[in-house]
């Protein structure tokens, strides 16, 4: 018995050691780019590029399918893609788009302007598919001929252009037969993008092979894309650190130590500040946040340098008082006097402003409203979003020093989002809205037309702030097609924002991008900033720029 036991233990040990000694072969075959962008525990085969429900999978939006134009957020310009040119007609009430010639669907049928018209018709009849809300301002989309499509507007609405050209186009000859495009899983996509062949689909990994008929000669040079399923950020980061992933868009804490230091010659990251700006929203329908002095005081009380260090490992910088992130780096900035800059940390002035607003301190040092109600608030944030939670804690501490009793309250995402949509909060952290121009950004921050009463769901403007001045500028923007004039209006919007302080900008969100150059080269970097480096930037097709630029390294 002794002996038998000893033998079985020995076998166990040998097996364990044996496994331990198996050397790992390179993670993926040559030319296969391993990407980690979406975090799932297992993949479900769904390549529907139109569905909004589950925030459609990245490659379906910019990889398998393609939009009309790609927006390059680093250069702040549109790049011709399925469309080659456009013009505004009939007093900016019609947008004419000329589509690219010689593009084939992956099944060999030619792509034409009729596919574009069909796609817009499809989302018209299925509102659930209208991800960008284009049918809020369109009245009709007609193909004039095989290369020309006209978009008729209900009213002049220049910013609508950005939404129209971002639409992914599906082939009419396939989708016209689909009974319910909302629930259609589209398991074998027919598309125009660089990667259209589902070479492999398993629950833990799937692969997209090259489109043999891709319209860009000789592209893509990447053989295939591989998507391993990683259930969490942590796991995805482990894979990244272990060279199992070539390209990722995750938050990695202490990245220099954790990632770069392991293999400095190949492990790189570039976090351009082109994400949306993160705000502290105070509900402006509730006292005392209806007072601009209070909002500015709150903002001045926040030590953004510390916040960025604690919450974001210094990956970002304190937000500018205009709230704009680096996407708008090329837009002119207004002159702002030092004392008008309420995004600067200045506790003394913040205290003075609150005193001025009539919020005196009680015996315990806590400030109160004129009617005696103490200023005691919860800052809402999403549980698990640790950067936000840390930021909220820094803010709560800073507000405490100001005499405001603020505490951090975390919610599940959907519970939090529900409260935010309905405006049922005092203070919350939140993102802002992005777009090629500041129009969308400012519209959702301060347009009176977007203000909904508390309790009613509102897509943006959760803090419910309406500025008459802003509405005028925004309206002018809607009918201004000239880029130079647009920039002037942008300046005007920035001035209004700085004066009225509708919300408190904290920091521009970095665009997360990590890449490993041991197997591929040609990633965008600070030295070669040809596009945003993040695989998360697919909403307006930007990842297509990267996918068509990468080149596999030959193994020595």
């Amino acid at each position: 018995m002794h002996r038998e036991l000893a033998v079985s233990f020995a076998v166990l040990v040998i097996v364990l050691v044996g496994f331990a000694c198996v050397r790992d072969v390179p993670y993926a075959p040559e030319g296969v780019l391993v990407v980690s962008q979406e975090q799932q525990s297992s993949w479900v085969r769904n390549f529907n590029p139109l569905t909004t429900a589950a925030a459609a999978r990245w490659p379906t939006l910019a990889g398998i399918y393609e939009p009309l134009l790609v927006f390059n957020s680093v250069h702040a310009e549109h790049v011709p893609w399925l469309a080659v040119s456009y013009e505004w007609r009939e007093d900016n009430r019609v947008l004419r788009i000329i589509t690219r010639d010689g593009v084939l669907w992956s099944d060999g049928r030619p792509f034409t302007a009729r596919d574009v018209a069909f796609t817009f018709g499809l989302i018209d009849s299925h509102p659930a598919l209208d991800r960008n809300g284009v049918w809020g301002f369109l009245s009709g989309v007609h193909a004039v001929d095989d290369r020309t499509v006209d978009f008729h507007f209900e009213r002049v609405f220049i910013p609508g252009f950005d939404e129209i050209v971002a639409q992914t186009i599906v082939p009419e000859h396939i989708w016209s037969d689909i009974e319910d495009p909302v629930t259609f899983p589209n398991e074998n996509p027919v598309a125009t993008g660089p990667f259209t062949e589902v070479r492999l689909f398993r629950n833990q990994v799937y692969e997209l092979g090259r489109n043999p008929r891709y319209w860009q000669e000789g592209l893509p040079r990447v053989e295939a894309l591989r998507f391993p399923a990683y259930p969490s950020n942590d796991r995805a980061n482990l894979a990244l650190v272990f060279d199992e992933v070539d390209w990722a868009g995750n938050f990695v804490p202490a990245i220099d130590r954790v990632f770069v230091k392991r293999r400095p010659e190949h492990h790189h990251y570039w976090f351009p500040l082109t994400g949306s700006t993160i705000f502290l929203y105070a509900n402006t329908t509730r006292a005392p946040f209806d007072d601009v002095r209070v909002r500015k005081a709150l903002s001045m009380a926040i030590n953004r340098d510390l916040l960025v260090e604690v919450a974001l490992f210094r990956y970002s910088r304190p937000a500018e008082v205009t709230g704009l992130s680096d996407v708008f780096a090329s837009w002119p900035k207004p002159e702002i006097a030092e004392e008008a800059n309420w995004a600067r940390y200045d506790r003394a002035r913040a205290n003075a402003l609150l005193d001025e607003a009539g919020l005196g301190r009680g015996a315990d040092g806590t400030r109160h409203l004129p009617d005696g109600t103490p200023l005691k608030y919860e800052i809402l944030t999403v549980s698990g979003w640790s950067d936000w939670v840390r930021a909220s804690q820094v803010i709560a501490r800073d507000l405490g020093a100001l005499g405001i009793d603020a505490s951090v309250r975390t919610y599940d995402f959907s519970a939090w989002f529900q409260l935010v949509l309905e405006g049922r909060f005092d203070m919350t952290l939140g993102w802002s809205f992005e777009g090629p121009t500041p129009y969308v950004f400012y519209r959702w921050l301060m347009s009176a037309t977007t203000v909904k009463p508390e309790g009613e769901t509102s897509t943006g403007n959760w803090h419910r702030y309406g500025s008459v001045a802003a509405d005028e500028a925004l309206e002018a923007f809607e009918s201004e097609a000239d880029p130079v004039a647009q920039r002037q209006l942008g300046l005007e919007l920035q001035r209004i924002f700085v004066t009225e302080a509708p919300a408190i900008p904290l920091y521009p969100n970095p665009s997360w991008a990590e890449y490993n150059t041991s197997r591929f080269e040609g990633f965008p970097s600070e030295e070669q900033p040809y596009a945003d480096p993040s695989p998360n930037k697919f909403g307006r097709g930007e990842t297509l720029l990267v996918l068509t630029s990468l080149t596999p390294r030959r193994r020595p």
């Binding site: 482990l238 698990g384 804690q393």
Partner: protein, 313 residues
Amino acid sequence: MKESTGAGATGIGLWWEAIRRDRKAAFGIVIVAAFVLVALIGPLFVGEPDDLVGMPLQPPSLKHWLGTTGQGQDVLAQLIAGTRVSLAIGFGVGIVVVMVGALVGVTAGYFGGRVDGLLSLLFNVFLVIPGLPLAIIIAAYLPTGPLTLGMVLVVTGWAWNARVLRAQTLAQRRRDFVAAAVVAGESSFRIVTREILPTMTSLLVAQVIGSTVYAIGAQVGLEFLGLGDVSAVTWGTNLYWAQNDAALLTGAWWTFAPTGICVAVVGFGLTMLNSGFDEITNPRLQLEHAWRAYLLKRGRLPERSTPVVVDHE
């Protein structure tokens, strides 16, 4: 296995006996007492656990003995504050679970017949439905918080106690003093509470201890999954945050190692207490101990065939 020896009055006395005489039990009680002490007075000696005290993920230092979390909080303060909440939930749930189990089990065992059939079916069904997945979905529907968590743990944890207590009640029911009480016309309630339950005191205590181990473990598991109130400071949420803040990736072992070890040590202490008690109340084991000691004292190794020891006085 757990036969209650001795009458009711000695139930608690037996525990004292176990702690005094059994090394395991003594070891267990020391551990448990230490943790209870920390839970009671520990928070007085550390700062507010939620406070931002420094940069995130700082390794242990003189200023922060166990370093800082990914949120820049003091790990030690969080560990101690977590001890209080986790132990409170653990013992609370342990007691309630046994109470529910006793209610169902004793009712089933005492009344027998159809009542027994129905109740037995109920707890057998609960025993066979996998607990953690059930706990997860119940917790998902309810607003997070300690009360929810406690409720979920009770719902998924009472059945085993009910089963054991039913068997025990059945055994007691057949004993003479119960029959005598029935004949004397005492009410069922009185018989159960005065005659039957007291004979099971030590078993009930053992069950509370066992259920507490279960409750602490399950609570930590659920909270780790983010099903607790993640803004509360408990052992489970500490681990949740450690995972959330990439403890593994950044090598910040200090954010998760101490909590895990505490969970294990407390569980171990409670289990030792129980198994020590088991040993001193199991007459067979007790005699075997004495037998071994006798042989060893005479320089004989215990052997399988009846040993022959001829004393030469």
